[in-house]
Amino acid sequence: MIKLSLKNVSRRYGTVEAVADFSLDLAPGEFVSLLGPSGCGKTTTLRMIAGFAPPSGGTIEMDGELISSPSGVVPPEKRRMSMIFQSYAIWPNMTVGENVGFGLEVRKLGRAEIDRKVDAILDIVQMRGLKRRYPAELSGGQQQRVALARAIVVEPEVLLLDEPLSNLDANLREEMRFEIRRLHDEFKITTVYVTHDQSEAMVTSDRIVVMNKGRIEQIDAPHVLYARPRSRFVAGFIGRTNFLEGARQGDDVLFDGFSAKAAMLGAANSSALLYSLRPQAIGLSAARPNGGRLAVEAEIAARSYLGEYWDYQVRPLAAAKSLRVSCPPNSVFEVGGRIWLEIDLSDLVRVE
């Protein structure tokens, strides 16, 4: 069962290809994020889904019905979708209640029913008491809740969010992430969420589409994206990582300062191999560890204490470059001291 389907969608502005060959299927009730740096084409994609921009190529279907193609676009007002904008786009000339009730009014519902639905949704976003206020009298977070209520109250087929939290301060942003996920769990609306903030995407989404330069890099669940990035871009964009360059030599892969069995790494016969190794996948210990894991003797080059963890820079004795390692706050090692690195070879992820 597919709710929303994008097939080879592309969008050109003059000679610039803003989005290229974008294909994605959303299951009903699924929450998918489009994640990428600014200018990667994520907002353009969202606006094509909303019907504000026609695709230059490819098609968009909802419930199996064609809604966008280069030859024609169902206008936004006929798509039964809702969208939350970066600027909130709350109408300052209407009260909270009027803002939220607007979509229902356009759908020609009775006054009593509108009031009932507006009150119910305002209760859910905890804004009932502010129903008669004007937007200028609300804080940023409250305005965002109005925007959410206004979008959800019409029970849209698809909910679109365009960087909805980027104008909020850090604390509020974190709170609203959970709020958005909570509302999604309650209403199960198929949602597309555009953001450049990886933790926002990871908290809210069932799947994340990582985009770069108008193309899809990888589509996966947040934990898969983190543990198994497929490209250098994804590994670097989602969380921090160490990039290890390796070269195949016989049965081994040679890295900077150590080597590992090629069979364990699933390495191809190539001289230029690139692996990603997350900082917390490396263990530190004072004594040489035993067991099946790779042990490398190293020196602590630098360290910083970040409260939730230690951030160490360690250099394998034979290496030129150091690696970053995250350790729990109680693993204390002095700068200049010798330690052993413990690496599970399955944590080394080959990237393009």
Partner: protein, 338 residues
């Protein structure tokens, strides 16, 4: 107006004389061309100068203004400032006031020289003076309304790029700015007075001329107002199921109410005193107050003239005030917490 009796001809007065009997429109039109050319040239030069880097009116930094201590120069400077104000504002108004109440303005100030006869005359006895004031307000109101609606539409189309080359439309709205009123009037006369339109002497030709003359004021205001609106507010209407018209009616218009009313007043007030175009285009039944005043000055009836001018002034002021009131409460301001 001051110059004709002094036989001190400038282009505009000469143009006016071409309209004396017999009317020679072709000659006037040809004579107007150099005036138009010079005006356009001057405006181009001004644009070139202000476009240069370094011409910045608003820097974005909150500069502090502090009073300069003038010491003993304080009173002389004050005197100088007041002299300028006196020459340009107080004196003319004082004499206008005096003349409007005077039995004969040449007799100067004095209690025995005060009467309300002038007001009574222009309001109740004169055949067309009172009507001319009414005409002025009617035509100015109609053209201000028309200009605001027209320019709002054009500015919206240009800002949202609804049609290709919308910018050209915007440019056309600004074009009357470079055309002197007299030249515009001659153009209107030539285009609309002869059949098939034959609008000469109708209210419509005056309203059309005023609308055109003040289109730039409307356009500058409307486009500034629309550019201050985030298009996402209209997109929010559409995504929730409303069409473009709903967005205009429910969101754009209410949000622009204030600036549009401001633009309306900015057009209305100069339109009530427009002379240079109306003097060519008025007919026997469509005389406006400015033309009436001009006629009275030609006849040397300065007492009546002053009374009429004062009436015009006094009627405009409450309109301004009503306009400001009608704007209603500014919803962008916080009310006291409820």
């Amino acid at each position: 107006m001051i110059e004709i009796p002094a036989r001190f001809n400038v282009v505009t007065t000469q143009l006016f004389q071409f309209f004396g009997s017999p009317v020679r429109v072709e000659v006037a039109a040809a004579y107007a061309m150099p005036l138009l050319g010079v005006t356009i040239l001057l405006i181009l030069i001004q644009r070139l100068m202000t476009r240069r880097k370094g011409f910045v009116a608003l820097t974005g930094k909150g500069g502090e203004r502090r009073p300069i201590l003038l010491g003993r120069w304080r009173w002389p400077m004050f005197g100088y400032a007041m002299l300028v104000a006196t020459l340009s504002v107080f004196l003319p108004y004082l004499f206008l006031l005096q003349a409007s109440f005077a039995k004969a303005w040449g007799r100067g100030f004095g209690l025995d020289n005060i009467s309300l006869r002038n007001f009574h005359f222009v309001l109740f006895e004169h055949a067309t003076a009172a009507t001319s004031v009414l005409n002025s307000f009617l035509y100015a109101g109609a053209s201000a309304t028309a200009a605001v609606i027209l320019t709002l539409g054009v500015a919206y189309i240009a800002a949202r790029r609804l049609v290709p080359f919308g910018g050209v439309l915007g440019f056309l709205c600004l074009a009357p700015f470079v055309i002197p009123g007299v030249v515009l009037a001659i153009g209107f006369y030539a285009a609309y007075a002869p059949p098939p339109l034959a609008l000469y002497g109708t209210a419509l030709i005056l309203i059309l001329a005023f609308t055109t003359r003040f289109l730039p004021i409307g356009y500058v205001n409307a486009s500034a107002a629309i550019r201050s609106l985030n298009p996402e507010m209209e997109e929010a209407v559409r995504v929730l199921g409303g069409n473009r018209l709903t967005a205009l009616r429910r969101v754009v218009a209410p949000l622009l109410k204030r600036s549009l009313l401001g633009a309306w007043l900015l057009i209305f007030i100069p339109a009530t005193r427009e002379l240079s175009a109306s003097i060519f285009l008025y007919g026997p039944n469509t005389k406006v107050a400015s033309v009436m005043i001009f006629d009275m000055s030609e006849e040397g009836n300065f007492e009546y003239l002053a009374a009429l001018a004062l009436i015009l002034q006094i009627l405009t002021l409450p309109l301004l005030w009503i306009g400001m009131k009608a704007l209603g409460r500014d919803f962008m301001l916080r009310r006291n917490a409820t």
